[in-house]
């Protein structure tokens, strides 16, 4: 029985980050099926890289977000933005708890949030999602997006102001 630690570690990363990466992709592309595909592609590409570098990635979480972000950017360059109707048609995964009052309310809120996020530019949407969905700090966001922390903070503030206006 031979151990394969790099594979084990990688799959443990999948177990831990699959859902967060999926959720990130969902709030970027507003399609559950596409978010699943992007999540899968993220991990496939991450493995391609990791297997070449003998599994040495210092911060796997940030690395995965970087890969996901690049895939989403590539996608947005190829396709036009989804219409509001397309977004509303794609509902989040319905759990049994969604039949409760709270579950239904959360789903309604998700749709409202998706509506507002869809009105932001892709770049603004990226930083808002990374900050408030994925809980990355500006430095980490800068690393993921290839920017710097100051620019990220400025973009974040402007995006939230726009959202604040829209949500009134």
């Amino acid at each position: 029985m031979s151990e394969k630690p790099e594979m084990q570690l990688f799959l443990e990363s999948y177990d831990k980050y699959a859902e967060p990466i999926f959720r990130h992709c969902f709030f970027r592309v507003f399609s559950k099926s596409r978010a699943e595909e992007l999540m899968q592609e993220t991990f496939m590409k991450a493995w391609d890289y990791v297997s070449q570098k003998d599994g040495k990635v210092e911060n796997m979480r940030a690395f995965l977000y970087k890969v996901a972000n690049n895939l989403i950017i590539d996608e947005s360059r190829k396709k036009k933005e989804l219409s509001l109707e397309d977004i509303i048609e794609e509902s989040p995964s319905l759990e049994p708890s969604s039949d409760t009052k709270i579950g239904v309310e959360n789903k309604i809120m998700a749709r409202q949030v998706m509506e507002k996020l869809s009105e932001l530019s892709p770049e603004d949407r990226a930083v808002v999602t990374l900050r408030y969905v994925d809980d990355l700090d500006p430095k980490e966001i800068a690393d993921v997006t290839g920017s710097n922390a100051n620019k990220v903070s400025v973009r974040l503030n402007r995006a939230l102001k726009k959202l604040g206006e829209k949500m009134r």
Binding site: A18, S98, A110, V113, Y132, V133
Partner: protein, 385 residues
């Protein structure tokens, strides 16, 4: 702005990755990794890495609950019921896996309930494989479908077991592992009696053996953690497990009695030995409980459940496949010792069935192998909500 952030925070709870889909993608990932390493999936030992293997190409898209309900309404309960005993290649098989089992999954709310149900479905997949072999309908497509769907359940179970362990819920983890072991042990035994010159049968046999080896290893490790416990929670857990063991033995006995005429003598012997061993383990569990050895009582309760499940799956195999093609081995009862069993050495002796010392006729939680078990009632319940 605060209003938006609050809504964003709440809306995140509505966005979840479906467990089936997570497991399927993990499959694809691992298959890709192994292929790049030039490894064969069927010979891969699951315990080398946590996770499972097959890339399921035939897979129904994950369904929204509203779509599921609409499908059930359109098909009617009769169709749903008729689909229950189908195998890959049958017209209604997609209803069984895409509708009935989806409903079943949705109706199990707790994680332990989901794990039990996943074990039942894993067992069903292996039953289907056995039926395909028996009917001469095993081909690369049906094998791929049933094997891949089996792997998805194993994947789900690995995820749930890992979660229980991470939450320090060793009792729940051990319960799941133990139940799975009983099921795998029985199917391993059945499949090993098929023609091993067929590479397709051989690869599935190898997979089940490897999975069983993994599960036994995990079970042993978890039992070690439980044995040393003596807290109040352990006493409750042990009592609960003993109650579940009583139900499992009672349920297995009921099933065997109901189908007694369909079993041949060898199968009856084989099953009786296991039921007796289960009853003995239960007795020992109660003795340990009285002595305050709660961890040991818990482990013995699990052992009793495992043996009862094994007996039931073996009996069910004979009922489904029939005497002519019975996969039961021809050895004498005293040689019926699984080489995978690392339980204390047991002498399997042919005796009259032990007296029933279990009260009640409550059904066990694991009814998946019952031929007459359908989701008819569950379907109707769902529509009435």
């Amino acid at each position: 702005m605060d209003n938006f952030l609050e809504k964003l925070n709440n809306s995140m709870k509505a966005v979840k990755l479906d467990l089936d889909r997570k497991a399927e993608i993990r499959h694809n990932l691992l298959e890709n990794i192994l292929k790049n390493n030039g490894e064969r999936i069927s010979s891969f030992k699951r315990h080398q890495i946590k996770g499972s293997i097959i890339n399921l190409k035939i897979f129904t898209k994950p369904m929204n609950i509203l779509v599921v309900i609409a499908l059930i309404a359109a098909l009617g309960g009769g169709t749903s019921f008729a689909a229950e005993n189908t195998i890959p290649g049958d017209i209604l098989y997609p209803v069984k896996v895409g509708v009935n089992e989806k409903v079943g999954t949705l109706l199990h709310f707790s994680e332990e309930g989901k794990a039990d149900y996943a074990t039942q479905i894993a067992s069903k997949r292996l039953q289907e494989f056995e039926e395909l072999v028996n009917k001469g309908e095993l081909n690369s497509e049906t094998k791929s479908e049933v094997e891949g769907r089996f792997d998805i359940q194993i994947e789900k179970l690995n995820t749930l077991i890992g979660k229980f362990e991470a939450d320090e819920n060793v009792h729940a983890a051990l319960g799941v592992v133990s139940g799975l072991e009983g099921v795998l042990k029985a199917h391993d035994r059945i499949i090993k009696n098929f023609d091993d010159s067929d590479e397709r049968i051989n690869s599935v046999s190898l997979k089940v053996s490897n999975d069983l080896e993994d599960v036994i290893g995990t079970r042993s490790k978890l039992e070690g953690r439980v044995t040393s416990e003596s807290k109040t929670e352990s006493e409750q857990a042990a009592k609960g497990k003993i109650g579940a063991a009583e139900n499992a033995i009672s349920s297995a006995k009921n099933y065997i009695e109901k189908n007694n005429d369909l079993l041949d003598e060898k199968t009856r012997d084989d099953v009786s030995i296991r039921i007796k061993a289960a009853a003995d383990a239960l007795f020992d569990a109660k003795t340990n409980l009285d002595a305050g050895n709660f961890g040991q009582a818990f482990n013995l309760g699990n052992k009793a459940i495992r043996l009862a499940q094994e007996a039931r799956v073996l009996a069910n195999a004979h009922v489904r496949i029939g005497e002519k093609n019975s996969p039961m081995p021809s050895e004498s009862p005293s040689s019926l010792k699984s080489k995978n069993d690392d339980d204390d050495e047991m002498e399997f002796e042919l005796e009259d069935e032990s007296q029933d010392d279990h009260s009640g006729r409550r059904e066990s939680e694991n009814e998946g192998t019952d031929k007459n078990n359908s989701l008819e009632g569950s379907v109707k319940l769902n529509l009435d909500l």
